[in-house]
Amino acid sequence: MARSKEALVLLLDVGPSMHSILPEVEKLCTMLVQKKLMFNKNHEVGVVLFGTEETKNELEKEVGGYENVFVLRDIKVVDADVVDILHNIPRGKFPGDFVDAIVVGIDMLIKKFGETNKGKQCLCLVTNAQCPTKDPYEGTKEDQVDKISSNMKAHGIKFDCVVIRENPVESAGKSVIDENDHLLNQFSKNTISKIVHVDSPLALLGALRTRSISPVTVFRGDLELGSTMKIKVWVYKKTSEEKFPALKKYSDKAPSSDKYATHEVKVDFEYRSKEDPDKVVPPEQRIKGYRYGPQVIPISSAEWDSVKLKPDKGVKLLGFTDSSNIKRHYYMKDVYTFIPEPGNRKAIVAVSAIARAMKELNKVAILRCVWKQGQGSVVIGILSPNVSCMDNIPDSFYFNILPFAEDVREFQFPSFSRFPATWLPNAHQQEASDNFVRMLDLAPSDREEMLKPEFTPNPVLERFYRYLDLKSKQPDASVPPWTAP
């Protein structure tokens, strides 16, 4: 399908100030490409380095300038080579100019796709943005950026940028950095873009979505506030656990000469009666039984379908309540997001009004949802506001499923104050504990929040993909030792 054919150009800063972090950049990029190899085999990838000693790009040949920008790989469908290239990125000796690199990247995309493939091409810049950019031949740097970004917009090119700064920078470079940050923000004003600042190698690994999943709506339709007032919304999953890949069972029965052997294993189920284990009961003679206490009650699927609950599709508002009324630990499952129907200005405004009012009054809404017609169950959940801080992103909601009465066990626990005094901390101990909690602060005011879920990748998956690549080269390699980050 055409929509899966996305193109990505990685723009990597390899200048001297980046050397310390490049091993992590290599990890990030190989992971990104590896996942494309597994899940999005048609995607295309190009790699551009900047800050290199050598210069190799078409613009330099055509118009001159654009020194120290090196096209390591043209835009091609992902393959094993690109993994190897990214494993070992050559280090550069010059301070890199990210604006030059962006222009080279855009040039590559335009030459390759022209007017086609809009919205499916992306530039991904990884830099510390610490080195000054060159002055343009004419106009200001801002003008130049505006020109570039309108070009990106015209060709439907998205822009992702990861800015890594491990240590607070000394004041000397401060003005350059401020200018660069300003320029990058200038980019994001006019294009579809995202700029992420990270300050640790671990966060870098989580900063880019390494696997692109085309999102699927769970529900499209009306959020019914009442019988007369409805808002058109689309519902997506906001979080969904990325599972460990399902590996297939390997059969070694096929002769090694058979090149087309799949080596797959099929699973076959047979049902045998308990009294006569030799007798296999054919599928048409089987009937489903549901357990009720010691009894198993036989009921055919058709009969079951005729009596089971068949609620009508729809999302209905039950009412509003204080957000403090619903404790955080009652959230049951992965999270959904409600987005106003794209392009529907009325829906966008209606969602915005409710979301902002909810935020102001600390309220949440309780909804009853049936996502699909014919679905045999109902969910009750809490709708909470997600007020957008970006001008070009509409306000939306988060939705969390709440438990039903049957889902809760009300075990009784003794109150701490009823415990004997010897089990309770004294004032001195309590003070030590307060200090401990204060000291072990993962979100100090002068730094980025540490171990933010958004930027913390799943270590097991990372380990698996790394090992997979290693094994494809050395089939007898053992599992690399685990080092906690």
């Binding site: 009666s273 009596v307 009012a357 009300e410 075990f411 094994k471």
Partner: protein
């Protein structure tokens, strides 16, 4: 396929984790004898409200039947016996006076609860006086001791099953705190001594005896009169045993129901606070989705359950393979093979401990930082003395500083970052609402979070946001549509209620399918109140403008006809193309498989049959339609 019913409130997520399962302390099966006092005092009315007054006996019966209903849905391997004492009639294997074991057909005294048992038990009050009768069994001048007899009967019922694998409990429901109050002298001390001895004997055999007192504020149940000795409470424990006095009967039923369930510890884990400081905590699954029970395949002729047998077949050669030792994953045009050991080694990055990483302000725990139901943790001093003290100190600091703890937790698979949120105890008239402790919330990794909102990003900064006036209208609406006394989990799950309603009806052989009310539907009458209707209308005009409905209708009309025209055209095209083949002939000669999927779909579309599924499914659907 699984015949063993899963414990409903166990942690399903890690059930493939054998190492962890071994560590579980709790025997998974439970045997319970409900000992219900049926003395005349139990038939006193609770509360002053003449119309709504009910008896203590009623509270006991309704809380037990409620828990039986939960039990039959959840842990159906549990066995129960229901036994009244202080009765006129007697029915028990020991033939003791004043003790009546209630039962129904096809069931042993101590057995799994059945639909019939629950049904007859819940309406026992109507016939109790005539069939069983109430009579206080401990009277001066008689050697009868109904409490002693009841304990004896209960203990005898619980004789089967080893205490290693089965947890055995006797639950005593009574409102008499001083059962030997009306006798005196040597007879009294003797009776107390023998009764307590009987209880000790039972406890020696691994049976725990719990007392569920029923009391009202002006007549508090005094456990130290007698029952403290019976259940072996000492010192501080007596003080801790505060039967919460209640005003309303519903609250009493609620409290009893809460206490009937034994707290099941999911596992005991080590919580490492810092280098060299470890404490121990127990984890509990307080919230887990209750699912309809698993399906068992039956032979439709005999209605006996079938045994599923799984076999692995090599796709290339058709040979039978035993559990294959290797797994593979395609990568770079080849198959990379892994051994099972290597795979479990990859997943093993946690030692099963809960490791504290640090603290963050509560507002950094976002609404979308969630993946699955939380787990409750509570400290235990059983193995590491001081665990409770450290836990309480942290708990208090976290509450006071409004922070949550970030920790890393995982067994030998699926490790996760977790947020530990301290919760203070909350108590209401119906008992404890929120237990004190910490809730462990499973956080997503960056891989699990999707940035859907960004999909809607437009390059123009022209996304409208609501004006202050629109927000004000929304606020008014919110105040009007405030849910009064909303509490989480006040709704019963309509799908589950229906499921078990149907099963219960079928189990009892009833023809009528039960009509289960769906409590989750919006309150239509409430919504129709003029204040709400007006607020809604105001809001609608504020955000949509005056003529919204008209615009909607006209736009719908055009789009509707568009879509239907398109659909019509598609069906016509399909009918035309389908006519190109002689379907009956193709079916007879088995040639359907030679056609392409779009060709097959033409037939299905032309005959208005679903077109989803794989090629085989399409073919079989065509064959069915052709009557082959």
């Amino acid at each position: 396929m699984n015949l063993d019913p899963q414990g409903l409130f166990r942690d399903h997520s890690d059930s493939d984790d054998e190492f962890e399962l071994e560590k579980e302390k709790d025997p998974s099966k439970e045997m319970v004898v409900y000992l219900i006092d049926a003395s005349p005092k139990m038939f006193d009315l609770v509360g002053n409200d003449e119309d709504k007054s009910q008896t203590y006996f009623h509270a006991a019966i309704s809380s037990i039947s409620q828990s039986l209903k939960t039990q039959i849905i959840g842990k159906s391997s549990d066995e129960v016996a229901i036994c009244f004492f202080n009765t006129k009639e007697k029915k028990n294997l020991q033939d003791l006076n004043g003790v009546f074991v209630f039962n129904v057909n096809d069931r042993e005294f101590l057995d799994q609860p059945t639909a019939k048992l629950i049904k007859e038990f819940s309406c026992i009050e109507g016939t109790f006086m005539s069939n069983i009768g109430s009579q206080y069994g401990i009277i001066p001048g008689s050697r009868e001791n109904s409490l002693y007899s009841a304990l004896w009967v209960a203990q005898a019922l619980l004789r089967k099953g080893s205490p290693k694998y089965v947890s055995k409990r006797i639950l005593v429901f009574t409102n008499e705190d001083n059962p030997f109050g009306n006798i005196t002298g040597a007879a009294k001390t003797d009776m107390i001594r023998t009764t307590v001895q009987r209880a000790y004997d039972a406890q020696e055999m691994g049976i725990s005896i719990e007392i569920l007192p029923l009391s009202i504020p002006n007549e508090p149940f005094n456990v130290s009169h007698f029952y403290a000795d019976l259940i072996g409470l000492e010192g501080d424990e007596v003080a801790q045993f505060l039967p919460s006095a209640v005003e309303r009967l519903e609250d009493m039923t609620d409290q009893l129901t809460k206490r009937i369930f034994k707290k099941r510890i999911v596992r005991t884990i080590s919580f490492s606070i810092a280098e060299g400081i470890n404490i121990e905590v127990n984890t509990y699954a307080l919230i887990r989705p209750a699912l309809p029970g698993s399906v068992t395949w039956l032979d439709s002729v005999t209605n006996l359950s079938l045994k599923a047998e799984r076999s692995f077949i090599c796709a290339d050669t058709g040979a039978l393979v035993h559990e294959p030792p290797k797994r593979f994953h395609p990568y770079k045009n080849e198959n990379v093979k892994f051994s099972v050991d290597e795979l479990s080694e990859i997943k093993r990055i946690s030692n099963g401990h809960l490791c504290l990483l640090g603290f963050k302000p509560l507002d950094l725990l976002k609404d979308y930082h969630n993946l699955k139901p939380s787990t409750f943790i509570f400290p235990t001093d059983e193995a590491i003395i001081g665990s409770t003290k450290i836990f309480i100190a942290l708990h208090r600091s976290m509450l006071q500083l409004k922070r949550f703890a970030l920790a890393f937790y995982g067994g030998s698979a699926n490790p996760r970052l977790v947020a530990l949120v301290a919760q203070d105890g909350v108590t209401s008239s119906s008992g404890q609402v929120e237990p004190p402790g910490m809730h462990m919330i499973y956080l997503p990794f960056s891989d699990d979070i999707r940035h859907v909102e960004e999909l809607q990003t437009t390059a123009d900064a022209g996304v409208p946001h609501a004006t202050d006036d629109q927000i004000k209208k929304a606020s008014v609406l919110m105040k009007r549509m405030e849910l009064k006394d909303f509490s989480v989990c006040q709704f019963a799950n309509p799908a589950l209620q229906r499921h078990y309603g149907i099963l219960q009806a079928l189990a009892l052989g009833e023809d009528e399918m039960p009509d289960i009310k769906d409590e989750t539907l919006p309150d239509e009458d409430g919504m129709a109140r003029p204040t709400i209707v007006n607020a809604l209308e105001d809001f609608k005009i504020a955000v949509y403008g005056e003529n919204h409905d008209l615009e909607e209708v006209s736009s719908k009309k055009s789009s509707g006809t568009d879509a239907s025209r398109k659909r019509k055209a598609m069906v016509e095209a399909a009918v035309e193309s389908a006519a190109n083949h002689d379907w009956a002939d193709l079916a007879d000669n088995g040639k359907l498989k030679d056609l392409t999927v779009p060709e097959l779909k033409n037939y299905l579309t032309a005959h208005n049959i679903p077109v989803t599924g794989k090629k085989e499914a399409l073919i079989s659907r065509i064959l069915t339609h052709l009557g082959r």
